[in-house]
């Protein structure tokens, strides 16, 4: 009789059927709920799960819960909702330390009060948490100008199944002491540990913001103009190419087919110069700059478009800039598309029935320099899809890392690349 027999019952708080539904992942329901109070508590809780062993799905705001494969097992919903404090913030240092369960919106509001911001805008900041943003590597529309989550995280505290709480990085903006484990956990979908605390560097808010809307009859010149701008100084803070349907969801109806929307940010003179440059590039590509007002929610709606609350299928292609046109070339007629030409990213809403064939076509066109994933899909559709695509060449190392940090395979089993 070992320790295992002693703790055979599942850890955490037993929950009602109704509660179980609230914490569903795809078609799976947990029987227990854990809501740690802080980082140390999270590590203790995780150790109990590991000893059982009980399969754990870590929850932030749940906005990216449809990303990834269906879990193989799911016993405990591990929610960070009680870990929502801003632990440290020194505006003059442009750094802060927060608990993983803090809502993005709350963090941005605290920063805004000091004229600062975190230039990361994942979908649904009113529900998305800091920890969830890291785990899902959820980025917004500013990635070509401001980089992604990995460029703004300077430190991290992780609760591991071993019961240890271990840190990496630190609180300063420049630091090469020890391994950069922040990179390992960003985008790992909670399969290597539970993100408990995060240290960010932040930036001063831009002085001025402006939006340009440019109509095009076909997609190719709109994409061209967008990528062209990315290659020049004064790159836009955001550049998206939308079809009519996507544009409508962002609050604009148009009699033209394709739109290049640009967000310009910076010092006043810089934005002025950027506007001139963008206008020139758009005209050269055969487009024009539309006058008139942009609805106030336009950029928020564009940001949220790839993570719809409705049960839709969104396929995401991440490719070198020069491969975007080819991706557009194989999109089915009935799909809706929003691309970030400066970032090499194309999001496509496809009909459930054609999801598998679209995935296959995009993967063929994207080639080995690109990656095509299912960003979100209803559980029933997902079971028939290879959501991550073939594992990358470094996969044996990834599996070994998983084995080293989560030997009993309790963290989000089956949701990550290659069945990790």
């Amino acid at each position: 009789m070992g320790l295992k027999a002693h703790v055979a019952t599942l850890p955490g708080q037993e929950i009602s059927v109704e509660e179980q539904r609230r914490w569903h992942v795809d078609d799976l329901l947990p029987s227990r709920l854990m809501r740690p109070a802080d980082a140390e508590d999270a590590a203790r809780g995780l150790r109990l799960c590991d000893m059982t062993p009980a399969a754990v799905v870590t929850w932030g705001g749940g906005t990216q819960m449809r990303l990834g494969g269906t879990p193989r097992r799911y016993d405990v919903a591990f929610s960070t909702d009680r870990m929502s404090r801003l632990l440290e913030y020194e505006p003059a240092d442009l750094t802060c330390r927060v608990e993983a369960g803090m809502l993005l919106r709350d963090l941005q509001e605290a920063l805004l009060a000091q004229g600062q911001r975190l230039p990361l805008e994942p979908p649904h900041p009113d529900r998305a948490t800091v920890g969830g943003m890291l785990a899902a590597n959820a980025n917004g529309l500013g990635r070509s100008r401001y980089g992604t989550v990995r460029d703004w995280v300077i430190g991290i505290a992780i609760a591991y199944p071993s019961g240890k709480l271990a840190r990496a990085g630190g609180k300063v903006v420049k630091n090469v002491a020890g391994y950069d484990l922040m990179k390992l956990h960003i985008g790992a979908l909670g399969t290597l540990g539970v993100i408990a605390e995060v240290n960010f560097k932040v930036q001063t808010r831009p002085q001025v913001e402006a939006t340009l809307i440019a109509p095009f009859n076909t997609s190719a010149p709109a994409i061209d103009a967008g990528t062209q701008l990315a290659r020049q100084y004064l790159a836009p803070a955001a550049a998206v190419v939308l079809d009519q349907g996507a544009l409508k969801e962002c609050g604009l109806t148009a009699d033209w087919r394709w739109t290049l929307a640009l967000k310009l940010e910076g010092y006043a003179r810089e934005v002025e110069a950027a506007r001139d440059k963008a206008t020139g590039v758009i005209r050269e590509a055969g487009g024009r700059v539309e006058g008139g007002d942009v609805p106030p929610r336009f950029w928020d709606a564009a940001r949220d478009w790839s993570a719809p609350d409705a049960e839709l299928v969104v396929v995401r292609a991440i490719v070198p800039l020069t491969a975007i046109q080819a991706i557009f070339g194989v999109l089915p007629e009935d799909s809706q598309v929003m691309a970030q030409p400066a970032a090499g990213l194309v999001d496509v809403r496809v009909a459930a029935g054609s999801a598998a064939s679209v995935l296959e076509r995009l993967r063929t066109v994207g080639g080995d320099q690109g990656q095509v994933i299912v960003a979100t899909a209803p559980a029933a559709v997902k079971t028939g899809l290879d959501v991550w695509g073939p594992p990358p060449p470094g996969f044996p190392i990834m599996r070994a890392l998983k084995q080293a940090l989560d030997p009993n395979d309790i963290l989000n089993p089956g949701r990550f690349v290659g069945g990790i």
């Binding site: 460029d151 271990a166 070198p320 990656q371 470094g394 690349v417």
Partner: protein, 492 residues
């Protein structure tokens, strides 16, 4: 290594790279015993592979023979990162110095590890692009070495350090495999971010044989200002004032009185000799804007106590100001036969009190300490001046270094901002990480290198990393030669 084993290993390695590119002659390998740190250790064999496939084969042969491997390129490490403390084989990249591709369309360049940092930016310039991270040693250090240490530089304040500019790597792993992680595309969505994990791992996980980097359009105009302050405290407070003003400079560098004197003696950059501290500030952007920002910054400088603000009127003046800064370490030879440099980091707001404490250490111990550093990101480079031929001085200086790193850590900072832990700070790493933190990192290391053959003796404290060699006394003669030459041997 036994003579017979060594001969057998050498024969096998020569079979891969050719007779002239693998050698064990004690005289020839002496050149590879050191880097820019005070530590030295002789390798058994030095190999100079010509291709990634050769690197992979060399690594495999060494791993099969259970022989330690240390990757070394320009060997400008200030932390002993490339000193082969466990002997074995040193792999050097003198022949792998090709820029394989400039792909401006996708904003990428693909390089071999031996490409000199500055050579890449020079090759990109005609295309209108550059590679951002610019360590002061950029005229000698290589991209491969930059990946190893996650190198920084003055202009990383606004644009980020090496890891922010690397999107993919080809790695030779101890298993003998050659594996590509990441690549040309913008985002990582193919599993764990092994590229990000590898950058800054100081050669303890494997060897990068090919590197995909981001390239960036050159800013149309740069404006460089020099602001003169009565003392370092006023200058430090000015740094915070500039950051609070909403201006995002591309670089903010500080030099104190002693450094100014050394620099002026060596390079005549035009820094005023009576200044207590000088800030070097740079903004970049479009014409019109940089002038506006330059004026705003000059105003903030004056309001925060600068007695003089001088703006570089042309590129020649700008280069002169930067030449002084980038040659600062070499210039220390004018003041002292030897110096010991640290790489601590503190939160920007802790600069004044940290510098005051360093000054107090200097007063207490009698050793002069210069400060030349990246003030904008709080990355200090205190230089303790000493004479290695005077008995007990080196040991005393190591204790001072230890004390300074401890106070940086206690201020909420780090023991290294850009030089790496290497050999030098593997015990100091405990000031910022607990046993649990290090245990997790060591687990990750073992995934890549279960036998502990990749750059052994580095990064981790001796008792975490079993069997590390003890520190040896410094090579005084070499250190002295470098300092008296006053040339470009040492950078930071």
């Amino acid at each position: 290594m036994e003579r017979g084993d060594l001969d057998r290993l050498l024969r096998r390695l020569r079979g891969v790279v050719g007779d002239s590119y693998a050698f064990a002659d004690p005289y020839e390998v002496r050149l590879y015993q050191y880097d820019a740190s005070p530590e030295t250790a002789l390798p058994d064999i030095v190999v100079i592979p010509g291709t990634a496939a050769e690197v992979a084969q060399v690594v495999k042969i060494c791993a099969d023979a259970n022989v330690p491997i240390t990757a070394r390129s320009a060997a400008s490490s200030l932390a002993g990162g490339t000193v082969p403390v466990k002997r074995g084989v040193v792999i050097t990249f003198a022949r792998m110095d090709r820029i394989l591709e400039i792909d401006a369309e996708n904003l990428r360049a693909v390089v071999e590890p031996g490409v000199v940092n500055l050579a890449l930016s020079q090759a990109l310039k005609p295309h209108g692009y550059y590679y951002v991270p610019d360590p002061s040693s950029q005229g000698a250090c290589t991209i491969g070495g930059n990946v190893g240490t996650n190198a920084g530089g003055p202009h990383t304040l606004l644009y980020g350090v090496t890891v922010n500019h690397v999107t993919g790597l080809e790695l030779a792993l101890p298993s003998g495999e050659l594996v590509q992680v990441g690549g040309r595309k913008a985002g990582a969505a193919s599993g764990y971010d092994l590229t990000g994990l590898f950058v800054g791992s100081e050669g303890t996980m494997g060897i990068a044989t090919k590197i995909w980097v981001k390239i960036q359009p050159l800013p149309p105009v740069q404006k460089t200002l020099m602001a003169v302050y009565p003392d370092v405290e006023t200058a430090s407070n000015a740094v915070s004032a500039i950051v609070r003003s909403g201006i995002l400079p591309a670089a903010i560098e500080m030099m104190d009185k002693l450094s100014i004197q050394a620099i002026e003696a060596a390079s005549h950059a035009g820094y005023p000799l009576d200044a207590g501290a000088v800030l070097l500030l740079e903004v970049d952007g479009v014409p019109g804007l940089v002038e506006e920002l330059g004026e705003r910054m000059a105003k903030v400088c004056r309001e925060s106590g600068a007695s003089e603000v001088r703006v570089a009127r042309d590129e020649a003046e700008r280069q002169a100001l930067w030449k002084g800064r980038k040659g600062a370490f070499s210039a220390m030879g004018r003041l002292s036969p030897d110096f010991y440099v640290m790489d601590g980091v503190v939160p920007r707001t802790k600069l004044p009190e940290t510098l005051a404490r360093i000054a107090a250490i200097s007063a207490r111990t009698g050793f002069k300490i210069c400060n030349v550093f990246h003030a904008g990101d709080g990355n200090l480079h205190p230089l303790v001046l000493f004479d290695a031929f005077k008995s007990g001085q080196y040991e005393a200086v190591l204790r001072i270094g230890d004390e300074i790193l401890k106070l940086c850590a206690d201020a909420g900072g780090s023991v290294t901002g850009e030089h790496g832990i290497g050999l030098e700070k593997r015990e100091n790493i405990r000031y910022v990480f607990s046993d649990d933190d290090l245990e997790v990192m060591d687990r990750v290391r073992r995934v890549f290198d279960p036998l502990g053959l990749m750059n052994p003796g580095k990064v981790f404290p001796g008792d975490v990393l079993e069997g590390s060699a003890p520190l040896k006394p410094p090579n005084h003669a070499r250190r002295r030669a470098a300092a008296s030459a006053g040339g470009d041997e040492i950078w930071v």
